[in-house]
């Protein structure tokens, strides 16, 4: 219904929340990032639409979304491009009435191809321009940038995104050690513009094209800004706010196996344990 569509808003009122990993699909016991996503909407009970496109609309992602948001103060729904038979309303109506669109992880190549096939890419740009918060993790985070690094075809490789945000993004910087070096090499060599590398559990909040906050659901998870200047990489760590009531509260919902994995990965990369 066109009557429920919002007007276009100024650039600094357009928000994108890009997570390197985390949220309900990766942190079933830790709601900090997802609660932060809900807090970004300017209404008490935001309409939040989940797009599981990048996973092939798996039932597991949809169930995890329902489990996380079903009992919270919001109106959750999901849109499956593989099961559109269940959807009677036009996609345009569904997308443009949302307060938040939350994009799941998976294959970024398939995500963009399917969005384009169904012309959802244009609708999401319009939603952003009208103040709908765009959020997502992994493929669902990189898709908003000029480019990212995907494993859609197996080995990590650069891939173009929708370019709502300048620069490039790489995700799972701690959780998937093979991805970061490919990104750094592409930035150094100039195939990708400079950008951000995010650990699992870290999200960047953009207002317009500017980073406003870097937040985390896990103590120790980091974010860095990387640029190439005359072939040399300039790396700068961002200050990351730990969400919740501090480290103790965050640890309460923290999966020890994930921390163990991250420690092993840091060791593999030659970093120090405990940093």
């Amino acid at each position: 219904m066109s009557g429920s569509q919002r007007p276009v808003v100024a650039l600094d009122r357009r928000q994108i929340f890009a997570m390197g990993g985390g949220g309900f699909t990766m942190e079933p016991g830790n709601p900090l990032l997802d609660d932060f996503v809900l807090s970004l909407a300017d209404v008490g009970e935001p309409r939040i639409l989940f797009l599981p496109t990048a996973s092939g609309d798996t039932t597991s992602q949809i169930n995890a979304f329902r489990a996380r948001f079903g009992e919270r103060a919001c109106v959750p729904s999901h849109l499956s491009l593989f099961h559109l038979r269940d959807t009677t309303r036009p996609l345009r109506e569904i997308v443009l009435e949302q307060d938040i669109v939350y994009v799941g992880g998976g294959s970024m190549r398939n995500l963009l191809a399917l969005w384009r096939a169904h012309e959802l890419d244009h609708l999401l740009v319009q939603a952003w321009q009208r103040g709908t918060v765009l959020a997502g993790l992994s493929a669902g985070a990189m898709c908003w940038f000029h480019a990212g690094v995907t494993r859609s075809s197996g080995p990590p490789e650069p891939i173009d995104g929708l370019a709502l945000l300048p620069g490039s993004l790489t995700v799972h910087a701690d959780g998937e050690p093979e991805r970061l070096p490919v990104w750094l090499a592409a930035v150094r060599g100039g195939t990708l513009p400079g950008g951000w590398a995010l650990d699992d559990g870290v999200g960047l909040l953009f207002r317009g094209e500017r980073v406003e906050r870097a937040v985390s659901s896990r103590p120790g998870a980091g974010a860095q800004r990387v640029d190439a200047i005359e072939g040399e990489l300039m790396r700068k760590r961002l200050d990351v706010e730990l969400l919740g009531d501090g480290p103790q509260a965050a640890l309460g919902g923290f999966d020890e196996a994930v921390e163990e994995l991250r420690r092993v990965n840091r060791m593999r990369r030659g970093g120090s344990i405990g940093r």
Binding site: F82, H83, T88, S107, A113, R116, R151, S153, G154
Partner: protein, 270 residues
């Protein structure tokens, strides 16, 4: 592999995913392959690589074939085929495309270069087949009614016709196809559930069915007709023995498991 004539078997609906009690259509497709243990690869793209669909494929084909599948959503996870897609697909005897959403499938295929690979496979004589979305995709133009109003979708264009599937499944399907052809959609073939159109090169060689009453039609623009379209019923051979119990219709497929019932419907919807 010898350069056999290109072959496509386009199912209006049916095969292992839709006909629990009948193997007639899949048996017909397998009978076209020369190898005693043919290499058969399943592409479940149109279903979003749904696990239950992949499992049913292996259940049906693994006992008699070298069965494999390609998942375009799990290429990072080591399931399905890991190595070069082209070399794997071009080594097959049969490529079986599953049903689901044809628009999503074609988008994902193009993103991974599968459209070009499948065209090469066809030219080499690798048999291509599938129901529903797995039929529509081979044609130049397809009538898709997966979501909202029916629309024309451009397929891979191996067969220079239009195509309409599940022709008997919904009362409006026939009139919609007629309207599209009258309005400029190119002439083409409509097939009911349980009917397979077998093309050699780009010519229709046979129409066969798992049901005694399965029908297929050639629909062409016709200026002399008031509706602007003519429809001719094709000769369809019933694959079952005379007097045999007819196969269960796809729409009647309903297991105890509601999820499986939902799957069957999802596959029906192209």
């Amino acid at each position: 592999m010898p350069n056999a004539a290109p072959q496509i078997v386009a199912l209006g609906g049916g095969g292992f995913s839709m006909e629990r009690d009948s193997t007639l259509l899949d048996d017909y497709i397998l009978s076209l392959l020369c190898s005693p243990r043919p290499r058969v690869c399943f592409l479940p793209t149109a279903s979003g690589d749904a696990d239950h669909y992949v499992v049913r494929f292996y259940r049906r084909f693994a006992p008699t074939c070298e069965a494999s599948h390609v998942s375009l959503f799990r290429r990072d996870q080591g399931t399905g085929v890991e190595d070069d897609l082209a070399s794997h697909l071009l080594a097959q005897d049969l490529i079986y495309v599953g049903g689901g959403n044809v628009l999503s499938m074609l988008g994902a295929w193009r993103a991974h270069g599968l459209d070009a690979i499948l065209r090469r496979a066809w030219r080499r004589g690798i048999v291509l087949c599938g129901p529903s979305a797995g039929s529509l995709c081979w044609f130049d133009q397809a009538l898709s009614a997966f979501h909202g109003a029916p629309r024309m979708v451009r397929g891979l264009g191996l067969l220079p016709y239009s195509n309409c599937v599940h022709y008997d499944a919904e009362p409006a399907r026939r009139s919609e196809y007629h309207r599209f052809v009258a309005d400029g959609l190119r002439a083409g073939y409509a097939a009911e559930d349980g009917v397979a159109l077998h093309f050699r090169g780009t010519a229709l060689a046979r129409a066969v069915s798992s049901r005694p009453d399965g029908a297929a039609f050639l629909v062409e623009p016709c200026e002399r007709s008031p509706a602007g379209v003519s429809e001719r019923r094709l000769h369809v051979e019933f694959l079952g023995a005379a007097g045999a119990r007819p196969a269960t219709g796809a729409r009647e497929l309903a297991g105890d498991d509601p999820r499986e019932r939902g799957d069957a419907l999802a596959v029906v919807a192209a």
